[in-house]
């Protein structure tokens, strides 16, 4: 490898920082996929993968994805929740991979809640 300059060091830093961003969840938008047995049976796995794929495609830096268990509303599964920093948490119902992609584009990026899929808001 050739010798680094200060500029190149900065580039490595920026790239590496995105790689370890999952380790500092403070101040980041949070998407939670409900992955109870009911959720998984309704296709939450595929939804989760679609979300991860969309985050990668759009190179979103400020979003973390976690999972949670069943919240007792099994009928509406797959359920995901989106909480942008400083705004209330929004629960979405029947989130297919397609809907998930739309929620990311519309809510996570542009901050507009996808009203027709909302299950409840905080």
């Amino acid at each position: 490898m050739k010798k680094l300059t200060i500029e190149e060091l900065k580039k490595i830093r920026e790239k590496a920082q995105t790689e370890i961003q999952a380790r500092s969840p403070e101040g980041k938008d949070r998407i939670v996929v409900h992955m109870g047995t009911c959720g998984i049976a309704a296709g939450a796995r595929e939804t989760l993968l679609a979300i991860l794929d969309e985050i990668e495609k759009r190179n979103l830096q400020n979003v973390i994805v976690t999972q949670a268990g069943c919240i007792g509303l099994c009928e509406y599964e797959p359920i995901i929740s989106v909480q942008k920093v400083g705004t209330p948490k929004v629960l979405y119902k029947y989130v297919t991979p397609e809907k998930a992609r739309r929620i990311i584009a519309q809510h996570v990026i542009n901050g507009q809640i996808v009203t027709e899929d909302v299950l409840s808001t905080e």
Binding site: L4, I6, R13, E19, A22, R23, T37, I64, T66, Q67
Partner: protein, 596 residues
């Protein structure tokens, strides 16, 4: 793609010996079976510091902290936590008093009350991946000094920060660098002292295992400041993992052009070599260390000349300890004012301590200077196990001393600790409870220094031996009251006339215990009793006859056949045969054997 979850497994030496490797392979297998191996990232980090709870790991982004992991736990973690988002409660830390679970790493009092500067990355990054270090602002400080600061400005900043040597003596680092810069010589050297030898201390090892680049960067900055082209890390062969990770880090730094010629495109060049020591305690003393690096027998020489003027191959040499080097990049990045805002008037910043002995959370912590011993022992260390009574804390290793309970509220800084007769040392902190005999503790530390004495000067070679003989006599019940005077006389002579710090510090454990626990010495000498019931020659076991239930368990378990059945069926211990192993005392189901 950036993985959705990061699993940080502690791969410090303690967790590895507790089975970290087999857990990790079980985890990988389960992740593959669940088909989520690609979605998560496993990172083996340096020591978290919670060595008592190992193997441990943290799962981010939630920050859930799992402890005492076994390979069979991997399935639950993958299927419950990583797949379904359900925290596996049985593997969490349990708050003993409140009986509640503490799921995340930030909730633990152990971590909550720490301030991490030297340990900023230890347990948070992969020590084998230079890019993770760079992501945490690594090598930014180097970039800053090479492009924006003159060597004099660097020295001024370090001086202003108030950083003092973390290896033990507490000499101001900036002043040492200034002397090194001003020293006359065509060639100058930088040395990192990683010859950590205090019993129970392992902070330097953990930094080198968990964040080797912070030490490399610190040395680079120091080299720029004093004008050195070559550096050495002197590390003991007993630290194979630290050597392995440091070697790897040095190679990585070289391949990125952060070591070698024209670093970061400037005309600054510097290189580091490792020198492996055989593990002699005296080689932590700087002149002995230099002799050892030169390939000679590791023995100290009188100072002056000091190494800053005439050190390695008689050239000006600046030696600092691992922890000191690790602090440097942060001081440069965040500024001297930030650093000196932490700590007390004369002791700035933080200090890493290794907690050991009779304390609930043994392990590694970093706290601001000026914190009290009580906060360390109770708030961070979780107090003494089984509700026993705190007796003393031995601080500073074999050259340190014992501080008794009445000084628990002493702020921890160089001056306060020294005024009590102990030293800050490298930060070994051994907690003792009522079951520890202080005469025996003094004997333990003295036998260590006596063993490690290089033999060059008479006071240390002969004096410590004589002191040890007296202590041995006292613990065997043969002591006389005038022995105490002789101990003190010898101690003062050794302290004042020894050649190096090893001899000068060797009497400290005896002197402090004589000062604070003189009554225990007197009990050993006059009453022939060991108040802590620890010195074997002064205790004996006896069956309380009227309470004996004649179950014969003691009789069956005595390894030397010293217990016999008497005419009435009760059991009796033959004192002549008894080796005082204590098995009968522990095993008696009715607790009718007494220890006196």
């Amino acid at each position: 793609m950036p993985e959705r979850a990061h699993i940080l497994i502690c791969a410090g030496a303690a967790c590895i010996s507790a089975g970290e490797e087999s857990f990790k392979s079980a985890l990988e297998k389960e992740l593959k079976e669940a088909k989520i191996y690609e979605e998560v990232k496993i990172i083996e980090t340096g020591c978290f510091g919670t060595c008592d709870l190992g193997p441990v790991m943290v799962i981010y982004p939630e920050g859930i902290f799992y402890i005492r992991l076994k390979p069979q736990d991997a399935r639950d973690i993958v299927n419950e936590h990583l797949l379904k988002g359900r925290v596996v409660e049985r593997l969490l830390v349990r708050e003993p008093e409140l009986k509640i679970f503490l799921p995340t790493i930030n909730e633990l009092p152990f971590f909550k009350n720490q301030v991490r500067i030297a340990l900023r990355n230890v347990g948070f990054i992969d020590p084998l991946n230079i890019e993770e270090y760079i992501a945490r602002e690594g090598y930014s400080a180097l970039g800053k000094v090479l492009t924006e600061m003159t060597p004099e400005e660097v020295i001024e900043e370090v001086k202003k920060s108030g950083l003092r040597g973390r290896g033990g003596a507490g000499f101001p680092t900036g002043i040492k660098w200034e002397l090194g810069r001003k020293a006359k010589g065509d060639e100058k050297y930088i040395i990192c002292n990683a010859d950590e030898g205090d019993p129970g201390a392992f902070m330097d090892r953990s930094i080198l295992e968990g964040d080797p680049h912070s030490v490399i960067e610190g040395m680079l900055i120091g080299a720029y400041a004093i004008g050195a082209k070559k550096g050495f890390v002197y590390i003991r062969a007993e630290y194979p993992l630290a050597i392995k990770r440091l070697t790897y880090a040095l190679e990585q730094a070289k391949s990125y052009g952060l070591l070698g010629e024209n670093i970061l495109g400037t005309n600054f060049s510097f290189d580091i070599e490792i020198r492996i020591g055989a593990g002699a305690f005296v080689c932590g003393e700087e002149t002995a260390l230099i002799a050892s690096v030169e390939g000679k027998r590791g023995m100290p020489r009188p100072r002056p000349p000091f190494p800053v003027n005439s050190g390695l191959w008689n050239k000006p040499t600046v030696i600092n300890n691992v922890e000191t080097w690790a602090n440097i990049p942060e001081i440069i990045l965040k500024g001297a004012d930030w650093f000196s805002s932490l700590g007390t008037e004369k002791s700035k910043g933080t200090k890493v301590f290794a907690l050991a002995g009779k304390i609930n959370m043994t392990g590694l912590i970093e706290v601001p200077m000026g914190i009290t011993l009580r906060e360390i022992v109770y708030d961070i260390g979780g107090g003494i196990p089984e509700g026993r009574k705190f007796k003393a804390v031995q601080i500073g290793g074999p050259a340190g001393g014992c501080i008794p309970a009445e000084y628990l509220d002493t702020p921890v800084d160089y001056e306060s600790i020294t005024s009590l007769g102990a030293i800050m040392g490298s930060g070994g902190l051994i907690v003792m409870d009522e079951d520890n005999c202080m005469v025996d503790v003094a004997k333990f530390f003295l036998s260590f220094t006596q063993d490690e004495s290089c033999g060059k000067c008479v006071p240390c070679r002969v004096g410590t031996k004589r002191m040890l003989e007296i202590l041995d006599k006292i613990t065997k019940g043969d002591g006389e009251i005038r022995d105490l005077e002789e101990l003190e006389d010898l101690a003062n002579v050794i302290k004042n006339t020894s050649l190096c710090g090893l001899g000068k510090g060797a009497p400290n454990p005896v002197l402090t215990t004589l000062k604070y626990f003189r009554d225990e010495y007197i009990a050993h000498i006059k009453d022939k009793k060991c108040p802590a019931k620890s010195c074997i020659a002064l205790i004996h076991y006896e069956v309380i006859r009227e309470k004996c239930r004649k179950c014969s368990i003691c009789f069956k378990n005595c390894p030397v056949g010293a217990i016999f059945k008497d005419y009435d069926g009760t059991y009796v211990i033959n004192q002549e045969k008894c080796t005082k192993c204590g098995i009968c005392f522990q095993i008696c189901p009715f607790k009718v054997i007494k220890k006196e």
